[in-house]
Symmetry: D2
Subunit: 387 residues, 4 copies
């Protein structure tokens, strides 16, 4: 195949998530990075482009120029990765969709539900792919879990316990020059949610992805335990899903000993599943009234489909970068389908990729949690959250 021509906005030298996206794009060799507006600082943008082998005429100082110029080139980019701070996701995505370029966007999709809803409209009208990198949903054993639930192996679902705990904001890291901590605790760049938006939405997305269920109502409390911090650093929520399924979500960035503790347990009338991101190659499967079983990536009983989900034999651990790469490989597949004539809608429907509706759901969840917390834990219906 011809590799997909990819551009990137954000991700200049020093940025963490930009480098992750580039590795993800390279791993399975479906993309070539040929253009970028890598930084709002022209010097950094230029040097970063050079380091990455991007031709100097395709290193742009603004994403607007980039969208315009690339759309005009016969060899212009087919897709763009957006890896800037959260508040810029919306205008950038808007610009590239308008220019007829597929968008791969880091999460959260936008800083407000209003923007998210606009973007949903724009994406639909554009006829282009919009992929949101909820990378955790692309771990092979998460896919295995999703399929087992869909196949009915757990029977009727009943309870979902999901959590995402970290410890790196236990003290006021944002005051000590930690860039990651700074923008994540700054409402101007992160939006109104701290821990909630940064990692709570990953937990929420994972619960919905594996269960296949919509959240209906949430009762929540946000707390900020570190003095003078502007945003929440701990989230407690009770969840009411459709079909009478009940759950809890805990997300924290002040839980010492937890590095990146995303973990889910899901229980039904016929069995249970348990998965933890830090040991991602295992899935505990508990068929009711039988011994617990340890399913493994590419091991006996593994069914998750897709070449990228079986890169290496079982026992050869894969991790975060491979899961992230799975999103890119599946997006590449979807782009190939559009090259071959499929609509974006069709191509996405053939995949398990998170997209604009997951982005809207994430923003609704953020709003609902904030609203509930402001009203002393009142149950908030997701459908009532419109802006």
């Amino acid at each position: 195949m011809n590799k997909i021509r990819l551009g990137m906005v954000g991700g200049g030298s020093g940025a963490f998530i930009g480098a992750v996206h580039r590795i993800a794009a390279r791993l399975d060799n479906h993309y070539q990075l040929v253009a970028g507006a890598l930084s709002s600082h022209p010097d950094i943008a230029e040097q970063s482009a050079k380091d990455l082998g991007i031709a100097s005429e395709r290193s742009y100082s603004s994403y607007i120029d980039m969208a315009e110029a690339e759309a005009a080139r016969p060899d212009g980019i087919e897709a763009v990765s957006i890896v800037t701070p959260n508040h810029l996701h919306f205008p950038i995505a808007k610009a590239f969709l308008a220019a007829g370029i597929h968008v791969i966007c880091d999460k959260p999709m936008t800083c407000s539900l209003s923007e998210a809803l606009q973007l949903e409209q724009l994406a639909k009208q554009s006829g282009k792919l919009f992929v949101l990198t909820h990378n955790y949903s692309a771990y092979p054993m998460v896919r295995q879990a999703q399929q087992m639930v869909a196949d009915g192996l757990l029977g009727k679902l009943r309870v979902i316990q999901v959590e995402y705990a970290q410890d790196w904001l236990t003290s006021a890291a944002e005051k000590t020059g930690n860039k990651q901590a700074e923008w994540r605790s700054d409402p101007k760049r992160s939006g109104p949610a701290g821990c909630l938006g940064d990692i709570g939405t990953h937990a929420f997305n994972l619960a919905c992805f594996i269960s296949g269920l919509q959240l209906q109502q949430v009762s929540a409390e946000l707390n900020t335990f570190v003095e003078d911090r502007a945003l929440d650093d701990n989230v407690h929520a009770m969840l009411r899903f459709e079909q009478g399924v009940r759950g809890m979500l805990w997300s924290s960035q002040v839980a010492p000993g937890n590095e990146n503790g995303l973990r889910i347990r899901i229980y039904g009338s016929d069995g249970g599943l348990e998965w933890a991101q830090e040991q991602p190659n295992q899935l505990l499967y508990s068929p009711f009234a039988q011994a617990n079983r340890i399913l493994t990536r590419a091991g006996y009983g593994y069914q998750a489909a897709g070449e990228h989900l079986v890169r290496t034999p079982s026992g050869h651990p894969e991790g975060y970068l491979e899961a992230f790469s799975n999103i890119y490989s599946e997006t590449a597949q979807a782009i190939l389908e559009t090259r071959a004539g499929a609509t974006a809608e069709q191509a996405l429907a053939n995949s398990l990729l998170p997209g604009v509706s997951e982005g809207v759901d994430g923003l609704k969840f953020i709003n609902a949690v904030i609203q509930s917390s402001q009203h002393n834990g009142k149950w908030i219906a997701m459908e009532s959250v419109n802006e």
Copy 2:
């Protein structure tokens, strides 16, 4: 020392928890079982007494006769263990306290808060010990955790996540002749709480015990997932402790793959702790910004005090029966102190034993959770729950 003369009410052949109490009493050799009203069925009572080496004249057909007769004997029992179904705890405890006999009572203390409050009064007036067998609080590594929190090693506490999950009621076991399931799902014998009273209260007690904090408010939802079941089989609750500490409690008996999954995590400004009942000899200690450490029973850094907390060297696993026995050994110590002239109040104050106030707290917690669940998760103040 002279062994303590012990009686038992309930626990005839076929009962589970009675046998556990007897092992617990025997393990460290502080008691001799000399009297009993072991069953409401005279035949079972008599045969059980015989099997246990209780003299036939001290095998009683009613606990009322037993309390009276034993109180009158010069060699009468000094303490009684109450191991009947829940609804009988109150009248039996009342009778033995009135007869001047120390009481060791299985939990929950009573079936209603009203009874619990009466019993609290009676216990105080009696001048006798009342010990409630919240056995999980006596695991050595739980004691270690309690001490570390008290010593300030976690700094200011912030978050408590506690859970107790089982799977044995995933299907309608109460309809298949399972006696344990039958009485636990029968409001007449168990009171108004199912999973909540049976195991949720253990989780609640553990959180309070280790943290040393009072719960102030709870917002909860009870669910019954198995059709036609009369009581709840799943508990979700958000917790507000004093000092701004926040937490969550999940308790379930319909979570396939969980055998007896009591687990607690507690986080403060300076560190975290994690303990799970099924691997009870370990305690994960996470001093903030340092590598996680695995503390072990009787291992390096272990400080929990008391001979019964170091029966065997580290690496020789102890379990449920030893933890239960720790309650009995500490009660024996308290009884010896009263023999030596201490008041019951003084003797209890020297110990970490759960007693009548933990029993009252448990009933308040049950009532508050039920009340919150009936009012769509409204926050209920523990102090507002009076009857």
Copy 3:
């Protein structure tokens, strides 16, 4: 039933293993301790007896007197527990067997193979039970493993990897007043083997017990890593079992981080098993070409038979003391059978109890390992080791 009248030699206050034996005897309530020669120091013996409620006329200052006097009493002891340092096991066991009293003896059985072979003869001639407390073989999940192998679930056995690692002798603890370290590193009291005799024999016994196989040959190297230590503190051995099964044994008391790390893995053509003493309630079962399963004590798929093997439901962890107690409960059962007319041989054949032949095997193993180590790892046939 009438409780079995038990005596004890050794185990005065301050001793570790004596207390363990007493708890083990008490736990299931089959014994009453009525006589003892608890220490070679008369004061300690007397005080210890008093503490244990042994009548003063049945507290003896010598085991010879005790054997004679108890044999002469109508209410004399039926069984004796020998919990002295190793070098005294032989003469004491001899005296009590000669007096017609069943013997429960701590391991290793004797300090020399010559004594072990004599004892084997004496035990057979005596018509009395001789039980060796290889307690690890009585863990419920070890019994489960033994049964699964016997039932053929692993197919034809191929490989056995067994190890027993501790760390408490990493430095010269025997020079710092540690009594346990002192006698264990003193050839006069421990015999010619250090780590090998103390824990290596447990590993050897466990491998034979679960596999049901005889060891045929061993090639080994003993090392003493701590300066001036008189006995080995590390054992490396390659094992040739009957039927072409091959294995390795590692035993060490100088492996930092290992508390009591007895662990076995056993593999056959159809599956594998893995068990570790520090998490004794689990057994990993790997049917070939299927997902690994976690079997648990009293959980789904658990088959080990005997009331003492199901004291508590699954998820209620049992440990070292319960396993030790299982030996005592099974011995009680065997004694009851002899009361009812069975020969000792018949009663033992109905059980899985370790006895005099396991004791002889243990001494042969010690001798073979020492001999191999002295001859640069030469393969030594077990059958060639006669004295």
Copy 4:
């Protein structure tokens, strides 16, 4: 920087390890794959080259042509990856070194010690880099372990326990069309060692790498448990390292339940370390007489140096592909140093890369183990193994 021009021999479509090498080369973006002799089947070679974006004139039908042609081009490859079956490693490496091209070679280096020794000479004379992809040595926590040992944190080393267990050859997979199983059990393509050469050498390499010690003597037994298999499928060995350090090595491909179970434990007078490949982001550190600590990749206390060793924050698991990529990234660094004027020897000395001497050691180890096994476990000195 200018990306390094890389060629590949072997690794046409369908091959496993070739794809792994290519991902490893891509991940950190230091290489561009521009030439290849990807298969001995011309059609597969051509198609594979096309799929990989290699220009058709640089897709060769023989490695000899490729070495010659590439050496002659001004833009010829600077390095070649050799990913063929084992028996071809030698002639191919020889050809490329002779052509002045750096070599990255899969292990084992050759099929015979004689070839290995020749290659060692050739590599030294060539002035080019020869890197052997003992990828497991490049896991971040293995590097951490190596550094801790070198820093003396374990004190004087004493014991090394290393193992590598798999289960995929438990039955005769080589007879069922499994290509991987076929060539690995064929002496013509794999050399005289089966499991020993395939994975046993990885275990050996890991033990030497972390400890920094030379193996002096080995006593071993090879077994073939599956009927009609031509090569060993199980390795048992006792190890004598320099400085009196003793160890054991177990390697097996017939151990059901083990996927890719490479695991090492290393103990010294002051502490111990434990690492397992399937949970590679953790390292258990046991400072003697302190609680065990869990060190993590990029976590608190992590010291391993190099940008590629900290791609993602702690808690974001990395795995097999990243470790493999670390070898490539370090090789890139060494190549850059040679571009800048360093000799190959200097560039390698600045790195921890495995090279030709590790390859020779691996072959010596294979020969020594085979020789020992053929002589009933006789201790064989590594220095005595010359051809």
